[in-house]
């Protein structure tokens, strides 16, 4: 009875006070992030990339798919900043539209990897008898080096953007699940979780309100790296012909097309790769900054 009474008496103002404190902490966190040089530079690069991708139709100077045989293989100039390809298409416009495809795939992979990583990682650490089972499965998936499994999966399913998303999510989920599991294992042993059990909180409430809420920061850092790797991996899949197929441009398939004309036209392959490198650098900088601020002990580890 007394607990209820206290909550009734002071609950309103106390709750408002706690909410204010939480908002203040969030603001402080954001300010600290933006003051961190790596994070700020990385975030700025990503912002430019996202804006360009989203507003591609407004920004691209030409139609990315329009062939024009008058302008075949023009080197970079004021008219065509990144040059043109063997169909006379403007590379800059193709890169801008390609950024869209790459961004779409990478974001989808990050979301799916995050969801499945959390589900598998939490299940493995929260449900004891599932742990060994899930972890051996994940070990098996991680035994395929790099993006090789994604290449094979995409080959079996047939080339498309959806295929690339599925294949890359399957490839990157295991490591993410491990990160989540490690975080949950630590938090799970904390006394306040035990206290929550003792007052009879439901499992779902404990998982979401008590455990995940406090175990998510390594996941966020991990997902920044998944974002970065997804952009490179999409390019690899497209380059090998199992990503989103031409003529619709993706950063990877422009490079693949550029490879065929590498002797006479270096610009086709060079510019889209340069864009990838800059964006991935931005994401890595963001990830490093986030990690420095969230968990300074982990600095320099990957």
């Amino acid at each position: 009875m007394s607990v209820e009474a206290i909550q009734d008496d002071t609950g309103g103002s106390l709750r408002a006070e706690m909410a204010r404190a939480r908002r203040r902490r969030t603001t402080q966190f954001v300010v600290r992030l933006l003051r961190h040089p790596s994070f700020a530079i990385g975030a700025a690069i990503l912002l430019v990339f996202v804006v360009v991708a989203v507003f591609a139709p407004l920004i691209a100077p030409y139609d990315p798919n329009k062939n024009s045989y008058r302008f075949v293989l023009y080197p970079p100039s004021a008219e065509f900043l990144f040059g043109t390809d063997s169909f006379g298409r403007d590379i800059l416009s193709r890169v801008i539209y390609g950024a869209r495809v790459s961004l779409y795939i990478a974001v989808a992979v990050v979301v799916l990897t995050g969801i499945f990583g959390v589900i598998l990682g939490t299940l493995a650490s929260y449900v004891r008898w599932l742990d060994a089972f899930v972890m051996r499965g994940l070990d098996g998936l991680m035994a395929f080096p790099g993006v090789l499994l994604a290449i094979a999966l995409a080959a079996a399913l047939g080339p498309s953007a959806t295929t690339a998303i599925v294949a890359l999510s399957v490839t990157f989920t295991p490591r993410t699940a491990r990160v989540v599991r490690a975080g949950v294992l630590v938090v799970q042993g904390m006394q306040y979780v035990e206290a929550a059990h003792a007052v009879g909180a439901s499992h779902l409430r404990i998982i979401f309100r008590y455990i995940l809420a406090n175990a998510l920061s390594p996941l966020i850092v991990q997902l920044t790296y998944v974002f970065a790797v997804s952009i490179i991996a999409e390019a690899i899949l497209s380059f090998l012909g199992v990503g989103p197929p031409p003529p619709a441009p993706s950063l990877g398939n422009i490079i693949a097309e550029g490879r065929n004309t590498i002797q006479e036209a270096w610009w086709i392959a060079v510019f889209p790769g340069l864009v990838i490198a800059v964006v991935v650098l931005g994401l890595n900088l963001m990830g490093d900054g986030l990690r420095d601020i969230i968990d300074p002990r982990q600095r320099n580890e990957r």
């Binding site: 998936l141 090789l148 094979a152 390019a235 690899i236 270096w266 890595n284 600095r299 320099n300």
Partner: protein, 313 residues
């Protein structure tokens, strides 16, 4: 004991790997025999193709057959090459392995040296610029970097071939020339990872009391850094090298396609276009096994470098 336990732990991993590889076949949408037969195939021809590759059998029977063959080292038969998958894959494995190994050696040597230099000159311009360089290396897609090297050294300068392969048995110098750019490509992107880990691990060790003692005893900087510090900083570095080996293995698979080297990767990629799935499966399985083996070696090296690891459960 330690080694035996590590060996045993590889078995469930290999089991899962084989299941995933087998199930890959089951993911293929549509009727593969129609693709193999081409547009002019009669129903009889299609039926013969299905019969020949067991495509008309239920999945469990195919699994039994596949595993039965696998335990005898038979990876099945190619749809199109008219030869066994094992022959085709193992014939090309040395190219992939030598490329990955060359890449690992280059990445390790330069990565460790760069990392040590950065740690010893902590917070100097050497440290900062080498770490920025490492981050840039990490962010560059390796296959694209390979293309850039081809453009610069192959097309513009003409110093090295733009692609193709010369077997080491035929012409050693030709082999070196054909492997230089691919190996540099692989090494460049992974060097950063190793350099970063070497630096942080060395910084941890250089901070410890026994290093100060060694310095106080008047040992030369060289002995302190290479004999005392490096040996103790090695465990995390070796871990990263193990991870790197896997990345290099899959990197080699992609880089082969860039430089037209006849390795397992190019075999797999070529088979994707031809829809020759037994080859894709076989190549995937063999590469994964090599990776599991590399990780096993790294684990065992661990125990050798740091005896404390041996007693952990």
């Amino acid at each position: 004991m330690f080694v035996a336990r590590r060996l045993l732990s590889a078995i469930p991993v290999l089991a899962v790997v084989s299941v995933i590889t087998f199930l890959l076949m089951w993911l293929i949408p549509g009727d593969i025999s129609a693709e193999l037969g081409g547009t002019e195939a009669t129903p009889e021809i299609l039926e013969r193709i299905r019969e020949q590759f067991g495509l008309n059998k239920p999945i469990l029977e195919r699994a039994a057959q596949w595993y039965g063959a696998l335990f005898q080292g038979d990876l099945g038969h190619s749809y199109l090459l008219n030869r066994s998958v094992a022959d085709a894959v193992f014939e090309r494995l040395p190219v992939t392995l030598s490329l990955a190994a060359l890449g690992l050696v280059l990445a390790s040597v330069f990565g460790v040296l760069l990392g040590i230099l950065a740690a010893v000159r902590h917070n100097s311009w050497v440290d900062q610029s080498s770490m920025v360089g490492a981050l840039i290396g990490l962010s560059i897609p390796d296959f694209w970097f390979g293309l850039v090297l081809i453009i610069v050294f192959g097309v513009l300068l003409g110093w090295l071939p733009t692609g193709g392969y010369v077997p080491i048995t035929e012409d050693f110098l030709g082999w070196v020339r054909s492997m230089t750019l691919p190996a540099l490509t692989l090494a460049f992107t992974q060097m950063g990872v190793i350099a970063r880990m070497t630096r942080s691990s060395m910084l941890d060790v250089l901070d410890q009391d026994f290093i100060r003692t060694a310095r106080a005893k008047g040992m030369s900087a060289y002995t302190v850094v290479f004999k005392h510090a490096l040996r103790n900083a090695l465990v995390p570095i070796v871990t990263v090298m193990g991870l790197t080996a896997g990345v290099l293995l899959s990197g080699a698979v992609v880089i082969e396609s860039v430089f037209s080297l006849p390795g397992v990767g190019r075999l797999i990629v070529g088979s994707i276009q031809r829809r020759d799935f037994p080859i894709i499966q076989g190549g995937l399985l063999v590469t994964a096994c090599v990776f599991v083996f590399v990780n096993l070696v790294v684990d065992i090296l661990y125990g050798w470098l740091d005896p404390r690891v041996r007693n952990e459960r």
